[in-house]
């Protein structure tokens, strides 16, 4: 889909034929339709794996099965399908028909529902759980909070009235970074820490990991929260300069970016360090259920020496007695 859109633009440029060229009767909005038809679902696809990771992490570190597993699974499918029906919300002010704008706005509100269901279910999982604050869990908490903010601000921009004002401003930038960094990257880092012992057979240093999780959280918010304000006050995207009264907010954001960079650098260092000097990990350092924890760390090529016998549900923590959580 994206490929054909780009091919058409290529033909326009190279062969001087006009498919989106208004001078020939072409419509640039058609380009936008074709472009966003792919690009919007793409971002929903980007967040779904992170959500899957969060489900694993919440379950393991509250030692409880996910609340409403089936609904959570169904919501993933719903997000994937509904995500294909909302692309026009990137085009509210492009000149597309107002009727289409209303349709896309309505559908965009609809697609927020399964995401919200997941957040509620994760929270419900925590209730009466036995919560441990290992690093992966810290990232899962970060995900839930920041993804919620990103999602709610997504609802703001999905409203036609508000979007007319904040479109193409830093408000939108902040919104999607809350989802992509606050959401997807946190999920990624949480998963990385969670499965690092399994993949490499080594434990990372827990104290440093907790520290960098905190630095990332603070750096991220310092970077992107000011951008909500900037956007609301009217700072457009993709401008190289700005009026003086916005300077403080810009500086805060830049400072936050530096902090965030430090936060990313620390894990790179200690992960590399752990490969050589990290404590050797056992098969199941987290005491988690799930088949991957029933084989060695790292697993042998054929995964299991003996075919494991499954005696309980995937997330059944009632009978599992895990190893004490060994952290470096």
């Amino acid at each position: 889909m994206l490929a054909v859109t780009l091919v058409l633009v290529l033909c326009e440029r190279v062969f001087h034929i006009g498919i989106f060229d208004p001078a020939l009767g072409g419509d640039p909005i058609l380009f936008q339709h074709l472009f966003w038809f792919y690009s919007h679902p793409a971002v929903y696809i980007m967040i779904l794996p992170a959500m899957g990771v969060v489900s694993e992490l919440i379950s393991t570190f509250s030692r409880k099965a996910i609340f409403g597993y089936r609904i959570v699974a169904f919501s993933s499918v719903a997000i994937a399908v509904l995500g294909f029906l909302v692309w026009g919300h990137h085009m509210f002010v492009s000149g597309q028909s107002l009727f289409a704008g209303m349709a896309f706005s309505f559908l965009s509100y609809f697609v927020a529902i399964p995401s919200a269901i997941k957040v509620f279910n994760w929270t419900a999982t925590l209730y009466k759980g036995s919560i441990s604050y290992a690093t992966p869990m810290l990232y899962a908490f970060g995900f839930i909070g920041l993804f919620t903010i990103g999602g709610l601000t997504g609802l703001f921009v999905a409203a036609l009235g508000i979007d007319v004002h904040v479109t193409d401003t830093y408000f939108v930038v902040a919104h999607f970074h809350y989802i992509m960094v606050g959401g997807a990257i946190m999920g990624y880092l949480g998963g990385l820490h969670y499965w690092w012992p399994k993949m490499t057979g080594r434990l990372y240093p827990e104290a440093w990991a907790k520290l960098s999780a905190l630095v990332i959280f603070l750096g991220f918010n310092l970077t992107f929260f000011p951008q909500f304000i900037l956007g609301y006050l009217g700072m457009p995207r993709r401008y190289h300069t700005y009026p003086d009264e916005f300077q403080v907010l810009h500086v805060l954001s830049t400072a936050g970016a530096s902090v965030l960079a430090v936060g990313y650098a620390i894990p790179m260092i200690y992960f590399a360090w752990s490969l050589r000097y990290g404590k050797v990990a056992g098969a199941n350092p987290w005491g988690a259920t799930g088949l991957e924890w029933k084989t060695a760390s790292p697993p042998p090529v054929h995964n299991f020496d003996r075919i494991p016998v499954v005696t309980h549900d995937a997330y059944d923590y009632s009978t599992v007695v895990g190893e004490a959580v060994e952290v470096g």
Partner: protein, 99 residues
């Protein structure tokens, strides 16, 4: 899945049907059907597509999953076309805010 080997006769009949439909669509194009010309042309094309898919591509012998995937592909194309056309067909319906 067990190999369903269709007969030569089946394939030949499908080919004849396809060629006949091609002739029909070509000739019908020269008849004035007004708005329906497009509908007829597309309907015939869809029939030809179904013949090729079900018989030549063996979809009628395929697993449920394959059939679902095929259906899904067509559905997604329909989503693209329908929603994009929603924009272009309703351009004049409601005014622009503020005007």
């Amino acid at each position: 899945m067990t190999e369903h080997i269709d007969s030569i006769r089946t394939y030949a009949l499908v080919l004849l049907a396809l060629l006949a439909l091609t002739a029909v669509t070509t000739l019908v194009a020269f008849v004035d059907l007004g708005e329906f010309s497009v509908v007829v042309a597309l309907a015939i094309a869809v029939c030809k597509m179904l013949l090729v898919a079900l018989f030549f591509m063996h979809v009628r012998h395929s697993t449920k999953l394959t059939k679902l995937v095929v259906l899904g592909g067509l559905l997604w194309l329909a989503i693209l076309l329908m929603l994009t056309l929603t924009d272009f067909t309703t351009r004049g319906w409601i005014g622009v805010p503020g005007r």
